[in-house]
Symmetry: C2
Subunit: 283 residues, 2 copies
Amino acid sequence: MTIKRVSSTKCFDGLQQQFEHRSAVLDCRMRFAVFLPPQAEDAGDGQRFPVFYWLSGLTCTDENFSQKAGAQRAAAELGIALVIPDTSPRGEGVADDPGYDLGQGAGFYLNAIREPWKQHYRMYDYIASELPQLVEQHFPVNDRRAISGHSMGGHGALVIGLRNPERYTSISAFSPICNPIACPWGEKAFGAYLGADRQSWEEYDAATLMSRASEPLPALVSQGEEDQFLEQQLKPHALATAAEASGYPLQMEHHAGYDHSYFFIASFIEQHLRFHADFLLKH
Amino acid sequence: MTIKRVSSTKCFDGLQQQFEHRSAVLDCRMRFAVFLPPQAEDAGDGQRFPVFYWLSGLTCTDENFSQKAGAQRAAAELGIALVIPDTSPRGEGVADDPGYDLGQGAGFYLNAIREPWKQHYRMYDYIASELPQLVEQHFPVNDRRAISGHSMGGHGALVIGLRNPERYTSISAFSPICNPIACPWGEKAFGAYLGADRQSWEEYDAATLMSRASEPLPALVSQGEEDQFLEQQLKPHALATAAEASGYPLQMEHHAGYDHSYFFIASFIEQHLRFHADFLLKH
């Protein structure tokens, strides 16, 4: 697996970079961003850093979080690498839809089984397996991984973390789609990508997975109370109810006055990074 | 002078907002952004905060700095308001040019005297007089003002600060165009806006103004050494030479490895805000 660097910018004494590679899982070229903390440049041979994976929301690429969250400051201080993938397969030969909430930019972090999506739309496998393997081959990182994300990416972080507890130290999310099998965004996307069998949707539903979880990870969810998608699309109460049912140690925080934007993420990303650092950096 | 709020988002416990108003100076509608620190909401009647004015670079609007610099974190902590104007007059009736470096998005913070620019392109008066008057009328701020900016906006901050030392406590700039009368961006814009009389350009040239300054303000300039515009367009050495000639107390910092992007600004904006806070908050 080879990668090609397409940009490199110094930031908080570390390096903010973009790379392209051919994804075998997604059967197309993909771009992702990496932030390497300053310690990576100074490090002697063999020093390796844990990784915080960030999954972005609908319509985003790697650039939204890289440019707007301000995460590099705390990551630089803590000695954590950031990896920020794109939100779907991309390109001319990749199926798409005119809606912002289906197709390119809206992969929903699942493996599609229906036409015309199933050839490329396998973001679940890409995020859980192929990308970490690539990252661990090419960068000075170790196998301690945290996973987080926003909105559709919060859904992805919860689902991938809950289904792969052996692969992550901790999970977090901002404003996640907690119960996609019961909201308009999820019903549209899951119907298109997975088909009419609603029971099969449950393996991508954070609330369902959390209600059945037997190997809990530390988990933090932050939700703004003025989020315009709160009641209809995000449904944090479904996740809280699921956590209660299974005794999952979910730390759910509601923040008065905050909305769905990156201004909310910027305000609390340091808290999330410090939350994960407790587990990522534990020896 | 009335203003209309067009957005309001909570950020670091303060409020990031956008406003529109009709500018008499620019003879068009203008948008600007304001960040009010959290103390503004809690403040009793009469508590007022100092203001950090940020002037953006070519092609930018109020949104680049608002979304990418991460300045709200330190501003919230310090109790400083941020005001972020647009970079030129805008709108259908406003003269424009196909180039990114002339016309809309490229006002160069001067008062144009030539056609077709002179009706609307009066950003010098807008930033130095009309906007502060508007801001001080509508927001809980006092008359302590710092001025800063990036690239073309760094030029604007230096020029407006140097020419109005009684109006500002302190000046700073990231990657400013230090000597526009002797670089391609400046020669093109000044020629179009001001005409062929090059001597008249000097009143908008930071290096010239600093070489003649008699009422120095605290001034900080940060420049990345990997900035792609460094030698041809920015010419920080011209500013350093001017400061030496007049004994101006310029703090010029060169940062190895950094480029012209907002990743550079994000990395050092806290330092700039703390630099200004020493003067803005002095009683």
